[in-house]
């Protein structure tokens, strides 16, 4: 992390637009059983942002290693690579005003091609791939673009109802310019029939919001004889301009 700004743009200091809590999943979603005991039941305290929410750390491109956004190779032995359908995921991180957001730290994690995570608490019978760790990260460029290379993860069963399966997905964590812009979400793949059967996807009330998490096959960006490409854009909260925001006299 460094204190330097990443671009010549003047830092923005406006409050973030209020979150549309009817668009995001509610906390209590009994079809996703774990949410039942982990959901706050009392009303949230709504606040217009103060400095504590508007500000946030900066992640410099210098923290990144060369293979950080290449999950095919970042855990593999020299000369080897992860098993599975090779894909590129690329996209634009925008805010609600449609502006590209530079310097966003994106961290991603996923199961291997068989649907198995490399984690001590993972119990699925599909085998580990010795050349696949399952984590990666990148930082958006000055216009808000990013890309990564990986293998397409497999769907997997999980203990919820007796026969629940997650659609193939990649988890994304996005760290924008302010701490209140923090977001974790998941990317799904166009055409996967499991999307519409998944209780976790189903926590999202709006079909359009689910489609907004579904990456689209991008044949133009596909590298012939090598890797298919999927485009996945991410939208972070927009923020107000501070031009006409007055402070009390004397402050």
């Amino acid at each position: 992390m460094s204190g330097a700004t990443l671009s010549n743009r003047k830092p923005e200091t406006g409050a973030f637009y209020q979150r549309d809590l009817d668009w995001h999943p509610p906390a209590y979603t009994p079809q996703y059983k774990t949410s039942v005991l982990r959901s706050p039941q009392k009303a949230l305290l709504s606040l217009d942002n103060t400095l504590s929410e508007i500000t946030g750390p900066v992640f410099g491109h210098n923290i990144l290693g060369e293979l950080d956004n290449d999950l095919i190779h970042n855990f593999a032995k020299a000369g080897e690579s992860a098993i599975g359908p090779r894909i590129i995921v690329h996209g634009h991180v925008l805010d609600e005003r449609g502006r590209g957001v530079d310097g966003v730290l994106l961290e991603f994690w996923q199961a291997n091609a068989g649907g198995r995570y490399r984690h001590r608490k993972e119990g699925y019978m599909a085998p580990l791939d010795p050349n696949f760790g399952g984590c990666g990260r990148t930082i958006t460029d000055e216009n808000g673009y990013y890309c990564l290379r990986t293998i397409q993860p497999g769907p997997y069963p999980w203990p919820n109802r007796a026969n629940d399966w997650r659609p193939a997905h990649i988890h994304f964590s996005a760290f924008g310019h302010g701490f209140a812009q923090r977001l974790i979400t998941q990317m799904y793949f166009e055409g996967d029939p499991l999307i519409w059967k998944c209780p976790i996807v189903d926590t999202i009330p709006d079909r359009e919001a689910i489609e907004g998490l579904t990456a689209v096959l991008d044949m133009e960006a596909t590298i012939p004889m090598d890797a298919r490409a999927y485009k996945f854009d991410i939208v972070l909260r927009g923020r107000r301009s501070t031009l006409f925001e007055n402070r009390r006299e004397g402050n």
Partner: protein, 204 residues
Amino acid sequence: MAQSLNRLKESASQTAGPYVHIGCTPNFAEITGVYSEDLGASMVNDKTKGERITISGHVIDGADTPLKDALVEIWQADASGLYNSPAEMRGSADPNFTGWGRCPTDMTTGEFRFETIKPGRVPFKDGRLMAPHITFWIVARGINLGLSTRMYFEDEEAANAEDPVLARIEHRVRVPTLLAKKDGNGYTFDIHLQGEKETVFFDI
């Protein structure tokens, strides 16, 4: 028809799931050799100004059980009340303090722990000073949208009494859910997701 605002909708949140550590703290998850260290693991160095404190606690569910798969992030001002952020316009924060920490809850005990410094006071929008506080963000399996809250210090009675955010809490019996308890050189701060002791969470 009027013009359109042409706004996009924020990407919908999804739970961080049980394996958030793979992506955010891979070394903790025993995936080594990819990143040299986990981001947010250390907030201070030898030169950081301010009073050193440890903050530890648990994230506790509605059956009084600590979460062993949560991830907690904190964000705070430096000892003089400045944020180490490009959006900080009042001056330059201590370059030896990041202000941001990330800690997974222990897989056996559920405890999180941050080595940090006590933050200074930061002004509210109208210029009044807020009491020293630390912003928390909690994600885990079963949490569909990351939870935001603030930690204040129980031994800052005077500052807490004039804090404009704490003043917004209608049910005064709930204010103590945001107060960390002094405990030797450190503070303990338990976060209750629901029930009688439910922490005040913020929509910020």
